[in-house]
């Protein structure tokens, strides 16, 4: 993997964010809500509104507004929330932190469960275990988060009273309580991931097990475990890396719903609130941050892949 390749990928991230910023800004520009009204509320008088518009630079031509906004963003200034009057940047970054924590736990859980499941299903292909795994995974990928979340709350929080229903406590504030509050959200988001990835691992592994080199390894008289762990897994798991990265996008989507239900003040919840209250700066910043998270995740995945996969000459 040549530095040139890395540079190229980084440049691509830049381009990505540029495009996203354009889209997001365009959308927020046409949103059916007057920013000034949002800010001042229903009691604002015409002159007050006018004053605010000038103050917000809403009177300037769109491209100029975009330019100003972009420059601001580049300097890390995402503007001021129209709901709270607080600067958007720090709030969202903090929120992102919480979401990433959620995502991180979810991915860890996923890796711990999905990979073994996939392997078992693949080597027991066609057997009951395989069937069991694939049935569950089919169900897993087919239940929307808000449904699974609701059921989890109903059972684990209301009936069994094992876990707090919702709410968020920073780990720094009270670690034990913080973790307890994270369990349900993490479970909810990881279900679909686990289901999806385990299926991927299975099919990848099944394919690999059909390759000539695996046959060759067997015919060299290597033990079954050596064939599986040394020869097959490595090749089967490589593509999974990319899949996991792509799932990050899905994860971020799921996070929106999950945070809404579990009152987890992460980036997703911020976005929902921002969208509902037409808080344009927050929407713009939120979407941009989410997109960059996704872009970076994929970047890292590609890097890992390039680093692990000896075949491809990245030049």
């Amino acid at each position: 993997m040549s530095p040139a390749y890395v540079l190229k990928r980084i440049a691509l991230i830049g381009y990505t964010l540029f495009v996203v910023s354009l889209i997001v800004f365009a959308i927020t520009q046409i949103l059916p809500a007057d920013a000034a009204v949002m800010l001042l509320g229903e009691n604002a008088t015409a002159d007050a509104l006018a004053a605010v518009r000038v103050q917000l630079g809403l009177d300037a031509p769109v491209w100029l507004q975009y330019g100003r906004w972009l420059i601001g963003v580049l300097q890390g200034d995402f503007g001021v929330s129209m709901r709270t009057g607080q600067p958007v940047g720090p709030v969202l970054v903090e929120a992102l932190g919480r979401s990433l924590l959620l995502a991180l736990f979810a991915i860890l859980l996923m890796l711990c469960l999905a990979v073994p499941l996939g392997i078992v299903a693949a080597i027991r292909r066609g057997k009951a275990t395989d069937l069991g795994v694939s049935v569950t995974s089919y169900i897993g990928v087919s239940v929307p988060e808000f449904v699974s979340a609701t059921l989890l709350i109903l059972v684990l929080a209301d009936w069994l009273q094992w876990l707090p229903a919702t709410g968020y406590v920073p780990l720094t504030e009270d670690f034990a309580r913080g973790l307890k509050h994270l369990v349900l959200p993490v479970l909810t988001v990881s279900i679909i991931l686990i289901a999806h990835v385990s299926r991927m691992v299975r099919s990848e592994l099944v394919d690999v097990l059909h390759t000539d080199y695996i046959r060759a390894a067997r015919l060299k008289g290597l033990s079954a475990r050596a064939v599986l762990f040394k020869h097959a897994l490595r090749n089967a798991l490589l593509p999974t890396i990319t899949i996991v990265a792509l799932d990050v996008g899905y994860l971020l989507g799921g996070v929106i719903v999950v945070e809404e239900i579990f009152a987890l003040p992460g980036i997703g919840r911020q976005l929902i609130v921002a969208i509902q209250s037409r808080d344009l700066p927050s929407i713009q910043a939120g979407a941009l941050i989410m997109a960059s998270t996704y872009a970076i995740a994929n970047f890292l995945a590609d890097m890992t892949y390039a680093w692990l996969d000896k075949r491809i000459q990245y030049g």
Binding site: E42, T45, A95, Y168
Partner: protein, 518 residues
Amino acid sequence: MSNFDRRQFLATSAALGGLALNPFNAYAQAAPRRGGVLRMSVDQAVAKLNPLLTRVNPEYLVAELLYSGLTRLKVDMSAEPDLAASWSSTPDLLEWTFVLRRGVTFHDGSACTAADVVATFEAILDAKTASPARQNVGPIAKVRAKDDSTVIFTLSAPFADLPVTIAYTNAKIVPAAVIKAGLARLDREAIGTGPFKLVSFEPERQVVVARNDAYYDRARPYLDRIQIVVYPDSTAEGSALISGDTDMISTVPPTEFARLEKAPGVKGLRTPSGQFCNVNFGCDQKPFNDVRVRQAVALTIDRAAMVEFVTEGYGTPGNDTPLNSAYRYYANQALKKPDIIKARALLAAAGYPNGLDATLIASDRPRVRTQLAVTLREMVKPAGIRINVETMPHATYLDQVWKKGSFYVGFYNMQATADAIFALLYTSNAAWNETRWNNPAFDKFVNEARGTVDDAKRRALYAEAQKLMHAEVPSIIPVFFDLLAAQRDWVQGYQLHPRGAVFRLDHVSLAANAPKRA
């Protein structure tokens, strides 16, 4: 309180001023336990911290903890002293004098004097501040400080309710210095005279306040801290209370109430209130500019069923006037019964022999707006009215429909006085003239009433006003909601306030069996 004259009135208020020290408390019990942390959940984010600009109940709640007004509302909707120790007015009700407590200080240590009160009210009355209080504190023409502890309000019209209206949720006193420096500062911090001080403020998550030891009342507040946590999902909010994760829920939706009541260790709180949903007609646009059409729609509604559908029974039928028994000047009139034949006739007379189509707009918050719309849609069907329900985000609604639309659902807290609600929504010069009904006769009744001290006369005038609304239906008010809340049984001294926007948490204390919280 029949035959109520001014002397008596002044006497009472003075007395109340004295009373203020031993707290008004529903269950007369032994001295409340001091200390403890109360965790209360609210269903909406606390976006605005600036007390002059707060707009939703959770924000009012926080503002009330951090700031004080001149007066505050008791559970019976009468005014009790807050910063003002006592008050009086000239016979013509055109000039009101409020005497402030002495030695009250803001959270930053500076003294709270008449100057601050004047500055605050000037800010409120300044259109640029865009404070909802502007149209709700009464017809104040001028505010001036007679001395450090005396404020004089000069009114543009005789007004008897000033002590009550001045307790308006947004009429909180803030330091003159801050106003001069720019109110923006109050978006992030709180400098008030309230019973609590701001500790932390995270709009989407929680607001934490701690006891203000410099509070003018030595006894209150009892709690060390209050954590106000945001739960956007009501089901989850309920579960949190049941699991003991929270101590109180500020507002419980009817659908959750039954479950919470059943839960062990949880007490459901319920109080009848003047809070209502109204279906507003644009009285200046076809087809609803024709009174017969409005009456027809009103006649299709089975109000008892509506109470069931919309409030799960936790409510009372409305009669198309904003007043119900919770209001002092409520005039009881025959409850409208559904009468489809008559409705059809009226429609035909109005030129809609085969019914009409209309789009009813309901914002998505609170949800009950949509519920009402959907229910109405079904109820008007037999009369040949085909309603298409259109829901939209609250923000869009405020921007595009509210005060402009011709057929949409509104939602209002109970106001402190009849005048307040009339002047807020239905008079020609109403702050939020939703219906553009602009009925001179109605205006006349209301205006006359606000300048009348004689209770009987006043009651009569308001009765006339209500009769008029009942007949002309500028907006349909099919149900009033009982306010619902819930608390763990270790929470003491909390009384659900019918106003909906008033909480008085400084009266709340925690029993010994309450969970210890950091």
